[in-house]
């Protein structure tokens, strides 16, 4: 019996790979958009822009304090009520980008505030403007604090992307759902789904760990 199911599963493999491609597409796009947006928001929050700062803070709290599935439903099912009709794919990317932007924003704020204030004072007193301070003094130092959790966040993002299967995006999780109706061996089918997620997440987990180690070494490059 098992060998029959395994054979069936092997036949369905191309379908799984297509699903995996969709998972990578949704996560990849959201990861890129979420990173850009997260950095912009984080920098804006760290700069204490009046009005913008509390607004962003409230938004981040709301998004972090509500289930992602609910956010996806709101974007996909409720926005059409106010005239914004979205396909499943863009809705998924928007929801996931927003979610990751909120978490990345927090990571960026923490990274920027980890840089001692004396660094900014030194940069200010040498005449560098705000952008130059950020670009040459603050961000390069914050990246040591930002990078490890950022990569960790990417792992979470890829796993969270499974939620968008609920609105019909045919990602690898959705392929699992569909397959299990033909091959009634949940363990086998979702075991495969899990393996496919693990294969893309594991290198990132390793990367995050090694970044953590590398970044905790003090600034002594070039030492004999």
């Amino acid at each position: 019996m098992w060998s029959f199911y395994i054979e069936q599963l092997i036949v369905s493999l191309p379908f799984f790979f297509k699903g995996l491609g969709m998972t990578i597409a949704v996560s990849g796009l959201s990861l890129a958009a979420g990173t850009v947006l997260g950095f912009v928001w984080g920098i804006a929050r760290a700069k204490h822009v009046r009005l913008l700062k509390p607004l962003l803070g409230a938004w981040v709290d709301i998004v972090r304090g509500t289930p992602f599935l609910v956010q996806v439903f709101i974007i996909f099912f409720l926005l059409p009520e106010v005239g914004i009709q979205l396909e499943a794919f863009p809705a998924a990317v928007i929801a996931l980008s927003n979610l990751s932007a909120c978490f990345i924003c927090e990571i960026v704020v923490a990274g920027i505030s980890a840089v001692p204030s004396g660094q900014r004072e030194a940069a200010t007193s040498s005449g560098l403007n705000w952008f130059q301070q950020l670009r040459y003094v603050i961000l390069p130092q914050s990246m040591r604090v930002i990078l490890p959790p950022l990569v960790g966040q990417y792992v979470l993002l890829i796993k969270d992307s499974s939620v968008v299967s609920a609105i019909g995006v045919v990602d690898v999780t959705r392929v699992g759902w569909l397959t299990v109706q033909r091959i009634p061996q949940g363990l086998l089918v979702f075991g495969l789904v899990a393996v496919l997620y693990f294969v893309i997440c594991y290198p990132l987990i390793q990367l995050s760990n090694s970044l953590e180690k590398r970044m905790s070494v003090s600034y002594t490059r070039g030492k004999e």
Binding site: A122, A123, S126, V137, Q141, Y219
Partner: protein, 242 residues
């Protein structure tokens, strides 16, 4: 060169500068001393607007520092600032530290900035350390890089905020030596320090601050031998006897 006109500053309720009037001439070396919390650091931090003032006026070369229209980039480019904690950029080498502002603010080419950077690092005695990161340098060397960072902008004024207070005793002299040379070259300097030997030898005038007021200001000979106010006498007796 620098002029304070009835300058007041508050940190919330705390009145930290109470009507400072002070004129510093070009090529003058002014040493400011006083107990901690007396407002001396705040005083020099107001000169390049690291701190805002609430009342009065500070002029640098006729430019109103605390005017909202003041061109701070231009002003700060002309004023080097040396911090107690050095505040070197840890992710850059000594050369990277001194050349950043000349390239980005003065718009020098990389080559020009690096030539100039080598020259100033040479001048503070660190010609053989240009490729070292701050973490690889001793405290005294780091502070000399910090001074070189200021000098690399070719400023008209150098401000020092307790430059030797964070240093081990054996490293204080190498930093003071650099400052002494600078003074002899005619740099306008305002130095907050407790190094009374340096004050006596290098300063043109010494000021004493307490409770946000400039209690006394006089040439070192007079300041150390005939201090006028009782608080100055008390302060001097405390720090000169140890």
């Amino acid at each position: 060169m620098i002029e304070f006109k009835d300058v007041h500053k508050w940190f919330g309720e705390l009145h930290v500068l109470k009507g400072i009037n002070l004129k510093i001439d070009p090529a003058e070396v002014l040493v400011v001393c006083g107990p901690s919390g007396s407002g001396k650091s705040t005083l020099i931090r107001c000169i390049n607007r690291l701190e805002r003032i609430q009342k009065g006026e500070i002029l640098v070369d006729t430019m109103k520092v605390h005017d909202s229209k003041a061109n701070m980039t231009k002003l700060r480019a002309e004023i080097g600032f040396v911090f107690q904690q050095f505040n070197l950029y840890p992710h850059m080498t000594a050369l990277g530290n001194v050349t950043l502002a000349p390239m980005k603010v003065r718009k020098l080419s990389k080559k020009e900035a690096e030539d100039r950077g080598r020259e100033v690092l040479e001048k503070v005695g660190l010609g053989d350390r240009i490729g070292h990161y701050p973490a690889q340098l001793s405290g005294g060397q780091q502070q000399r890089v910090a001074i070189a960072r200021g000098l690399c902008m070719r400023p008209k004024i150098m401000l020092f905020d307790e430059p030797t207070s964070a240093l081990d005793p054996e490293m204080i002299n190498e930093v003071l030596e650099v400052m002494r040379n600078l003074a002899h070259e005619g740099m306008t300097m305002v130095v907050v320090t407790h190094e009374m030997g340096f004050a006596r030898e290098v300063a043109h005038r010494v000021g004493f601050m307490d409770f946000g007021e400039l209690m006394e200001i006089a040439p070192p000979g007079e300041f150390f031998t005939h201090p006028k106010s009782d608080r100055t006498k008390l302060f001097l007796s405390k720090i000169l006897t140890h």
